[in-house]
Structures are given as C-alpha cells and as structure tokens.
Symmetry: C2
Subunit: 234 residues, 2 copies
DNA sequence: GTCGACGGGATTGTCAACAATTATGTCGAA
DNA sequence: TTCGACATAATTGTTGACAATCCCGTCGAC
C-alpha cells in the first residue's frame, strides 16, 4: 500500500496518486461518501499536499470523487439512475468498438489478450483482488484497443472509471471474478474464430452482472434514509 | 476580451479561464501550436498563475491543449487521422442520442431550441462569431440534452470540444455559419414533426462540413514540412 | 567549420507559510 | 432542555518566493 515513486516529474506523481486512490476505491478500502482529507493522504502516500490536490481534481473530472468548495472531497456515490445511464452508454460504445475490431483478430492481439487473461485467471485463483482488477483493466484496454480508434477507447475507459466506485462489490467477489474470467475466455475464442455476433453479444452480456450487482449494493448498503429509489430507465 | 470575474471561488475562476481560452482558440485568436505561457496569461486575464495552471490542466484533459513537462502548453493541433476518428465517434454518439429523444419533442424543448436558434441566427447575420459560437454550443446542448441521458450528453460535448482547435476555420466563415443555421432550423422542424429518421439524418449531415473544412485547413495551413498526410480511416 | 561546453534568460515546478472557510464544541440565557 | 452566540479546531484555499529545467546564443577546441 506504499507508494513507490522516488524521482519523477509531478505530472507522473499526480497520475500515480490518482491511480492509487482509484484502486483503493475499487478495492473497497475507501467507501462511497468517505472523506478524502488532503493532508492525511499526502502523509500516507508520502507526497506533498499540492500533489494530492491535483490528483483529487483529476478524480473529480473523471467522476470518481466529488469536491465541494472549502469542504473537501469525498468518494462519489452514484445513484442507480446514473449507473443505468452510464451502463447504457457503455453498452453502445463497447458494441460499437466490438463491431470495428478486424476479425479474425491478429496474432499479436490474441497473444497479448491470452497473456493478460492468464494473469487475470491466476489472480482470480489466488483471490488477489488488486491483481485481478489490474489484469481486468488491461484485458479490456487491449480488447477494445484493437478497434483502432483510440478516442473511442478513451471514452470506454472513462465510462468504466466512473462506475469504479461501485466496483468494490464485484471486485472482491469470487463468483463475479470467476464469471468475468470465463467470459473473457469466451471473448478470446470468438475473436480467434472471427465470430463477430458472438463477440458483440459477449461484450454486452459482460456488462450486466457488474451493473446489477452495483445497483443492488447501492440500494442495500449505501441507501440514504429518505433517499428516493428511482425507477429504471434507458 | 477582458475577464469579468471579480469575486468567485477558485474552481469557478478556473472554469472561467478555461472557457475563455477555449473561446480564443475557437475564434482563431490562439492558433494551433501557439505557446500558452502561464505568467503571460495570468496577467492578461487578471488571475494568479496558479489558476491558469489549473485551467491549462483542464484543457489538456479535454484535449484542446498539449502540455510537455517543464516546457509548457501549446494549442493542440489534431492530425487528420485523429479528426476522422473523433468525428466517427461523434456521429455514433449523436445518432444514438437523437434516437433517444422523445418525439415529438416537448414544447419546453422546442421553445428553448427556437429561442437559442434565434440568437444564433442573429449572431450569424451580424457576423458575431463569438455569439454564434456560444449559441451553437447551447443549441446542441439543448438538443442532445433532450435525450435524457446526461452522461451521453457529456461525452458528446467532450468530443465536440476536442475538435474546437480546428474550429477557427468554420467559426468565422459566413457560409458555414449560414449552413449551420439552416440545418438547425431543419432539425427543429423534424423535432416538431416527430420525424425521427429525418432528425437522425440531419444530425449526421450536420457533422460533415465542419469535419471536412477542418481537415482541409489542417492540410492546407498547418501542415508541417515533412509531415505525413495519413490515409483516411475509421 | 563543426561540435560540444558553458552561461544567461525565460519558463515551469515545488514548497511552506499564511489566510479564509467551515465544522465542532461550549457556555449561558430563556 | 433547547437554542443561539461565540470561541476553537480542522481543513481547504491562496500566495509569493525559490528551485529546477530547458532553450538558445556564445565561445573555444579540434
């Protein structure tokens, strides 16, 4: 949990701190609505306060964190409506990307994908949530990166980041991790076989469980007394 | 061209400065590859350097500006490949949004749209590029905002911002502005008539001219000697 | 003449002290 | 007890000074 940044330009340290905080959020170390105090984080991560400040600003832009002037930052909790909206766009974008991947996939892509998938499987096996998270991210980056449009990939990743706050539920659950691993394997098969319809369908299915688990968790664990549980929507 | 920010929280001042720089880029005051010196901007906009710094970080994240460590920021120039990629995604997202707008559009939306369109028409008539730009932005925000998914709208706006750097070509051209005005009018008609196919087609068509003008301008005016003109793609 | 060392100037990056703001706790009066 | 005024602590926001870095022109050695 200790930062390993000794000599680096600030920009990199900021990214590093932001990434670290993001992981802590995904892994459930930092829970929604939890306060993020600048000085405390600065000391814990062994950086100066202004670096933490910039990192928090970044995370706010991404949508993982909420900042209120003069009051500080907290881990953002999405309400179910927002989650559904985000997943709706994710589905459209990932479908779009999947449709543009040249099939059958190149050996380069397949090799890298299989390597990453291997790491993911190992991480799942050993219940290493952090490693699983990283491998999972890299799997999707590689997969969608194959579509050839970096700007599309950027959007897909940005949307994935937004719902990271809810990830702590699925990121540690063995069933979810195992399911994800199997679905990844199926995607690689579809890529190799050049079966576009199956690939697209798999990408779409892949989103469902995490979305539903997230929404369920919000309603079960983080619901505010008096908070309105909104109706489903597009 | 003078900032009118007297008393405000820093966050707002940062947004204000970022918006001002964005406009100067769109209007051609700041050209691609032009340097953005922090102290100079700070003095010109009557804010502290630290505010300019944050604003530049924002614009970098958006993609309007490029920052190199220890060397500062410059207005980013997209190459034709990137422009095509971005417009490709824009088309997909705007189509998606247009398909989700409830038809026929509500009176509220139509009224606001017509009001904004009116302002846009006036601005075009009087060749007020800045007002036209603002009205244009607001028109699209209102239009796509009607789809009901704020996250989708956010993505659409973000992509539009990315290509602002090239906007200086079309933002001042009377033909382009006039064409945009007419197309906006047609969109409002389609919305009122509940003609989804026409609406979607119009949104798609609306993107073409600015994209082509941008690419042409890049190749004609900003091409680097020795720069490779890439083939069309995606 | 070309190349590398060197220095000055311009610009960005870093920092810690200070100011401003908000939250929290205490006390007294009704 | 309950409420509000006030003081105090915790935290964020702001600033200017200083350090580090890079660009560029100059000069000297080969």
């Amino acid at each position: 949990m200790i930062a390993t940044v000794l000599k680096a330009q600030t920009a990199e340290r900021v990214r590093s701190v932001a990434a670290m905080l993001e992981e802590e959020i995904v892994l459930g170390w930092l829970l929604p609505r939890e306060r993020l105090v600048e000085e405390e984080l600065a000391e814990r991560l062994a950086v100066k306060r202004h670096v933490v400040r910039e990192a928090l600003a970044d995370l706010e832009r991404v949508g993982l964190v909420e900042r209120i002037p003069n009051r500080g930052a907290v881990v953002k909790l999405l309400d179910p409506v927002e989650v559904r909206q985000i997943y709706s766009v994710r589905e459209a974008l990932e479908t779009l990307a999947a449709q543009q991947i040249p099939l059958p996939a190149s050996a380069t892509v397949l090799d890298e994908l299989r390597a990453v998938q291997q790491r993911h499987a190992v991480a799942v096996e050993s219940a290493d949530a952090r490693a699983a998270f990283r491998a999972n991210m890299q799997f999707h980056e590689t997969l969608f990166g194959a579509c050839g449009n970096p700007h599309l990939v950027e959007l897909i990743q940005g949307l994935a980041q937004k719902v990271h706050g809810a990830r702590s539920i699925t990121a540690a659950s063995p069933e979810h991790l195992g399911l994800a691993r199997d679905e990844h394997a199926a995607m690689v098969d579809a890529l190799a076989a050049g079966d576009r319809d199956r690939l697209v369908a798999l990408c779409r299915q892949h989103l469902g469980p995490s979305r539903d688990a997230y929404i369920a968790a919000i309603e079960a664990r983080f619901a505010r007394p008096g908070a309105v549980i909104a109706a489903p929507r597009g």
